[in-house]
């Protein structure tokens, strides 16, 4: 295993927008590749951890039981865990369903909404499909989170400066322009 610090990233109940924002650091991605080794991440498509990671970046909150297991796995393997973006921090757009009972959401999606063709009237319940939680939870209501970078998605500069700070052993501090909720 290389001596470089390892970074893991994941998208739970998110839209991959925060991962796009990571890529939005532009050519600095090459410097990042020099500085770190990517572990479990959609960037290299590793599905499991290969070792201990210095930093874990989590996009998205927890909307199903698989999200909870993956998030707990991230907490076990990462020294520092960062909630990246509004979905990880407060549930974001997926949390809009929190005002509606789960049964009503499923009926709307699979039975009632315009354009649905479901003659059997079956709401998908294959055991392969992770069970939905009754509501969407922000990550810090499930495991301990060390830092938060809000935004939908967060500014690329905020992500870059946070990663560099952690690699240099400094705490994450967001400049005024880096603290955004939109």
């Amino acid at each position: 295993m290389s001596a470089k610090p390892r970074i893991a990233t994941v998208s739970l109940a998110g839209c991959f927008g925060c991962h796009m924002a990571i890529l939005d650091i532009d050519e600095r991605i090459l410097r990042l590749a020099d500085l770190v080794e990517f572990d479990r991440s959609p960037i290299n498509d590793y599905k499991t951890f290969t070792g201990r990671c210095a930093v874990g970046l989590v996009e998205g909150g927890c909307c199903n039981e698989e999200n909870v297991h993956v998030l707990e796995d991230f907490r076990r393997h990462c020294d520092v865990l960062i909630s990246l973006g509004d979905c990880a921090i407060n549930g974001g757009v997926p949390a809009m369903r929190n005002h509606v009972p789960l049964r009503e959401c499923l009926e709307e999606a699979y039975l009632k909404s315009p354009g649905v063709y479901n003659p059997g009237g079956v709401i998908p319940n294959d055991p392969e499909i992770p069970l939905l939680l009754h509501r969407v939870y922000p990550c810090h209501e499930v495991v301990k989170i060390d830092y938060y970078i809000p935004g939908c998605p967060p500014p690329a500069d905020a992500i870059w400066s946070a990663i560099v700070a952690l690699l240099e052993g400094r705490p994450v501090e967001l400049a005024y322009a880096g603290l955004k909720y939109d």
């Binding site: 509004d86 921090i89 407060n90 974001g92 005002h99 939908c152 005024y176 939109d182």
Partner: protein, 233 residues
């Protein structure tokens, strides 16, 4: 008349509130329910300061000669942060698609205080949106019950479109009619511009100024007061 604010002697006029006297001296005390031209009513407590050892709302408390006022202390900063945190979790604030983002005073206070995540569990209450009026909508999800609209409608528009009903967590804003469309609210009323958040909004003007170019994107709320250019309240 003089009083002491965080160790600095400030000159004020009799009857002036601590908030206004501080503002005239270039010191920004965070506030939410206070609004220009309105008689303050001290409900949000974001402006809390210690006056001779007691916590008071700076927007209603008038200056007394020789008073010792503490404002920028860690204790008070934390107290204000907590109030702002609670306002977020008690409502449904989806800033990512809110038209008011960058213009919103609640969001701007959170930026100013460096709030990156909610400190308390989200309540996700079920709230309604009143879209009945042709030119204005009322989104209760974002209402922070500051009461500005209640007072502006009465005192400045000389109407009585808004009132509060119920108490505690049940408290909410009620309009004077079946729905907004049934009231005498006009889009030109001062009240429409007075809401600090995205609860009471004009229709069809959203995103006229792009997100990113809005006032609080560029500088923190209160920076105008601190640079001596005067503030909103």
């Amino acid at each position: 008349m003089q009083f002491v604010l965080d160790g600095k002697t400030i000159t004020a006029t009799p009857g002036q509130t601590i908030l206004k006297a501080a503002e005239a001296a270039g010191v920004y005390i965070p506030r939410l329910c206070a609004y220009k031209d309105l008689i303050p009513h001290g409900s949000c407590r974001v402006c809390s300061v210690r006056v001779n050892g007691r916590i008071q709302a700076a927007c209603v408390q008038t200056v007394s000669s020789g008073a010792i006022v503490e404002h920028d202390t860690e204790e008070l900063r934390e107290f204000r942060r907590d109030v702002i945190d609670l306002l977020f979790v008690e409502g449904n604030h989806y800033c990512m698609f809110c038209e008011k983002s960058g213009l919103c005073e609640l969001q701007a206070l959170a930026y100013r205080f460096g709030i990156t995540a909610p400190k308390y569990p989200l309540l996700n209450p079920k709230r309604d949106i009143d879209m009945s009026h042709p030119d204005v909508y009322l989104d209760h999800n974002r209402c922070i019950l500051c009461g500005r609209c209640v007072r502006v409608s009465q005192d400045l528009d000389h109407k009585n479109v808004f009132q509060f009903v119920n108490r505690g967590l049940e408290k909410r804003l009620q309009v004077n009619g079946e729905a907004l469309a049934a009231t005498d609210l006009r889009v030109t009323d001062e009240v429409v511009a007075s809401c600090p958040v995205g609860a009471l909004m004009k229709k069809r003007v959203g995103y006229a100024v792009p997100v990113g170019d809005r006032p609080f994107d560029a500088q923190p709320i209160g920076a105008d007061i601190e640079s001596g250019k005067g503030g909103v309240a």
